[in-house]
Subunit: 173 residues, 2 copies
DNA sequence: TATTGTTATACTCTATAACTATA
DNA sequence: TATAGTTATAGAGTATAACAATA
């Protein structure tokens, strides 16, 4: 029972990434499906593991890719600004910036006016890789969302951002 | 946790949970905002940290709560079925089921016909807590999604599930 | 005193492999 | 041999505290 076509998990794909084939005669996760948070989580994990696989081909992770994009788009960014934009802790940006620097994709430049901080700048290789990875990621999203038309996709983006903003506004007790 | 007096961050909330106030004159994360995956991630983290806070009041985490719901809704579930339904590895269900059992919310019953597996059953306390936590979580989602009307919310759920399914179907390269 | 970057640490979630006991 | 549950472990992401250099 339970196992329809997929035997123990196809060689190369994990069980956890298998689609939730409903167990016959069981409710399964139907009750949880009513929660936006649950479907959000499932969609997110699926989506990000695919995105991670795409970026792996460029030697990037999701964290390093998104930092690289922000550094490319904001001239002479400080690390604490990077942290704020991406909503990660300052301390956690260090390893990401280290990785980008060691890969020769960005450089830390000293700021004369404030010698505590660095100005982050992409190298030419960094800009090039950023553009190539971005194109691949766009293509990837187009493929994944192929049966969701542009209007729906725009609506989806809009709803996700409203949800995030709504949750933010509920921060205070 | 959450702690009111940490040093760097604004008193009350961590930097990471701070809203992404656009740094003036900068592009910020605008380019990333075009990616569904990025907004999906941001919405997800915001959402789940809120949900985790709600469940904390019941002594539950997201993982234990969702397992409890599935166990309540599927009679005499096996652990591997639980894993399949929730799309987690079998090995990772063990600690979750342990936690639920130790909290007196479920019990492992031996199955005479197959002594390798357990039949998971909720206790009365487990069912009660499940219902109370579910109600609280529903309320929480209603609050968060207060400015998203029911039609939009249904559309959101539908799109999220289509996205997940779409990503699934792209598993085989 | 406050801020920037940093280090160290811990906790969670996820993934993999290998073991045991049953089948 | 195959499966159910288990153990151990490793990797990422995230969060907190404390420190040095600088403001």
């Amino acid at each position: 029972m339970v196992r329809a076509g997929k035997d123990g998990a196809a060689p190369g794909e994990s069980v956890a990434m298998t689609s939730p084939e409903p167990v016959e005669g069981m409710a399964g996760d139907q009750r949880l499906r009513g929660l936006v948070g649950y479907s959000l989580k499932r969609a997110y994990y699926r989506f990000q593991s695919d995105a991670a696989r795409v970026l792996e081909g460029f030697g990037l992770r999701i964290s390093t890719y998104s930092a690289l994009v922000v550094i490319c788009d904001n001239t002479d960014l400080r690390q604490s600004q990077l942290a704020q934009i991406l909503s990660v802790e300052r301390s956690n940006t260090v390893v990401v910036v280290d990785a980008l620097e060691q890969a020769g994709l960005i450089a830390r430049h000293r700021v004369p006016k404030d010698r505590r901080s660095y100005a982050l700048r992409p190298t030419r290789a960094g800009r090039q890789l950023c553009d190539r990875a971005s194109a691949a990621l766009d293509q990837h999203e187009d493929r994944i969302l192929t049966d969701i038309d542009p209007a729906e996709r725009a609506e989806l983006l809009r709803l996700l951002q409203r949800m995030e903003a709504a949750a933010v506004s509920r921060e205070d007790p």
